[in-house]
């Protein structure tokens, strides 16, 4: 695979590479801020194109780098290959009606499931490292960190309490 990048005056930056099988992928970061991705199958003359906002491009990037993105909630897995292949997953959830009004302490999240709530996003405000006395409200988006198994337990035991 050969990656080549060119700066096109007035347009932006182009990244192009050819896969081992001969397909070509080209990405353009245009000056207007949108990102265009072209793919050209080997032996084909006309490329197909998709135009993305920076946000959409980042999500595509997440998928391509191997992070799992689920339908309603997102999760990112980080692997530290230097640390005995340590894998940590960060997952977001929306707080359902059932646990509205309860605190992190009430739910015994850490001792029951092993995961830690590292942030809560409520409307336009973010609370980083919420204290155990933090009270959940409906539609809070919580960011939870843990191992995959711990997160499964969290989904089973806390989210459907």
């Amino acid at each position: 695979m050969v990656l080549r990048s060119v700066n096109l005056p007035g347009v932006g930056t182009k990244y192009e590479f050819e896969t081992d099988k001969g397909d070509i992928v080209a990405i353009f970061f245009t000056k207007t801020g949108t990102i265009q991705m072209y793919t050209l199958q080997q032996g084909c003359n006309t490329p197909s194109a998709a135009e993305m906002s920076p946000m959409e491009a980042r999500r595509l990037g997440n998928i391509l780098t191997g992070a799992i993105i689920e339908a309603e909630a997102e999760s990112v897995e980080i692997a530290f290959s230097a640390l005995a292949d340590l894998r940590i997953t960060i997952h977001t959830y929306l707080i359902p009606k059932e646990i509205t009004g309860k605190t992190i302490e009430d739910l015994q999240i850490r001792s029951k499931t092993g995961v830690t709530v590292i942030a809560v996003s409520r409307k336009d405000k973010n609370i980083i490292n919420p204290p155990p006395s933090f009270v959940f409200e409906t539609n809070d988006a919580v960011v939870v960190i843990g191992e995959t198994d711990q997160l499964k337990r969290f989904e089973r035991e806390v989210m459907v309490d």
Binding site: L8, P9, G10, T30, P47
Partner: protein
């Protein structure tokens, strides 16, 4: 003042409609101006303020162009820039000049028309390449470098035509002096400029506006073309942080340039014996002439005449630079001719940019069938 407000309001509506239909707005700003001006309903006349705004528009357009000129990058792509650029320059300048001269324009007027006839609209070309998703095509790169070459020719043209009857040696010395100052400031003040541009208060935008205005008025004071000097300012500042300068200059360019286009339309006088047939003829010739240069470029660069159709389709529209030339050096009749050419070519160009890939395929189909008898190697 009410005139500018009315003109800007019309442009706002035109911008909304053209963006919605994804067609180039420039011809419609000019048509809007013609309708508002003395050839239309005579609602708006140009005054001191509008002239200042329009001049700012022109100056910021050229400053912006300068920011995009990265000389070392052009030097690195010399061969790609030169071949296509020289074909494009010779064919279109020549056809434009001969046509204008045959219609009875003087040599200088014909030269002005030929330059406007030659130079495609960079804004329209780039927008259409992005919007029609053609960036990946090999021809797109050729077209983009063609625009850079045309910018370089424009600078040369501005220098030659504004030298006029000045002492050429003194003129060159003055230009070299201003250039040296600009590059020295950009070189020795690089750290300072980058720190300044990083600030989040009003300083970066104030500096950008001030630098452009100062350069323009200082050049006028010295008697060197301010148009050329603001391009040079852009090119010099591009060695520091061009993206930041673009970001700070864009609001000025966007607003003032619209005023420039609409007031260019307002000052057009259709009553002064304008020959519509001649304008239409020159406009259609401008389409044909880019076809010839496009096909030749296709043959020389991509070894395919069909590739030339793609190049042609995306470079037909004449726009901002043609109008700039008309506003700077055109007599009323020349300006009207160029305005007509911009309107016709940019509207035709918007369609060809969209459909030339299809046209190319349609033309390739019978050609392939025929040629397959002769060679099976492809």
């Amino acid at each position: 003042m009410e005139g500018i407000v009315l003109a800007l309001f019309l442009c706002l509506i035109l911008a909304l409609v053209t963006k919605y239909l994804s067609i180039p707005p420039i011809p419609f700003y000019i048509i809007g101006g013609v309708l508002l001006g003395k050839s239309g309903f005579a609602l708006v006349t140009s005054d001191e303020i509008s002239r200042f705004f329009a001049q700012m528009g022109l100056i910021f357009l050229l400053f912006f162009m300068g920011l995009g000129l990265k000389l070392e990058r052009i030097a690195a792509n010399r061969s790609a820039v030169l071949t296509s650029g020289i074909i494009d320059l010779n064919i279109n300048m020549l056809i434009g000049f001969v046509a204008a001269y045959m219609f009875g324009f003087s040599i200088i007027e014909s030269l002005v028309i030929a330059s406007a006839f030659y130079i495609s609209s960079t804004a329209m070309t780039i927008t259409s390449l992005v919007e029609n998703r053609k960036l990946m095509m090999r021809e797109a790169e050729t077209v983009i470098w063609l625009m850079v070459f045309e910018d370089l020719v424009l600078i040369l043209f501005l220098a030659i035509i504004s030298a006029g009857d000045q002492n050429p040696l003194l003129f060159l010395l003055k230009i070299a002096g201003v250039l040296a100052i600009l590059y020295a400031v950009a070189h020795y003040g690089k750290e300072f400029l980058i720190n300044l541009l990083d600030r989040s208060d009003e300083l970066p935008i104030l500096f950008t506006f001030g630098a452009v205005l100062t350069t323009a008025s200082f050049s006028m004071y010295l008697g060197v073309p301010e148009t050329m000097m603001v391009i040079a300012l852009g090119a010099a500042l591009a060695t520091t942080d061009p993206d930041a300068f673009e970001q700070h200059a864009r609001p000025f360019k966007d607003v003032f340039l619209v005023v420039f286009f609409v007031f260019f339309g307002i000052t057009i006088n259709l009553a002064s014996g304008v020959n519509m047939v001649m304008i239409l003829f020159i406009s259609l010739l401008a389409v044909v002439s880019k076809f010839i240069s496009g096909i030749l470029t296709g043959i020389f660069i991509h070894e395919s005449a069909l590739a030339g159709i793609e190049i042609w389709g995306n470079t037909i529209g004449r726009g901002e630079f043609s109008i700039a030339i008309a506003a700077l050096y055109g007599s009323p009749l020349v300006a009207t001719t160029i305005a007509g050419m911009v309107i016709v070519t940019s509207i035709i160009g918007a369609f060809t940019a969209k459909y030339c890939t299809g046209m190319r395929k349609w033309m390739a189909a019978p050609w392939r069938r025929k040629s397959s008898y002769h060679s099976h190697s492809r």
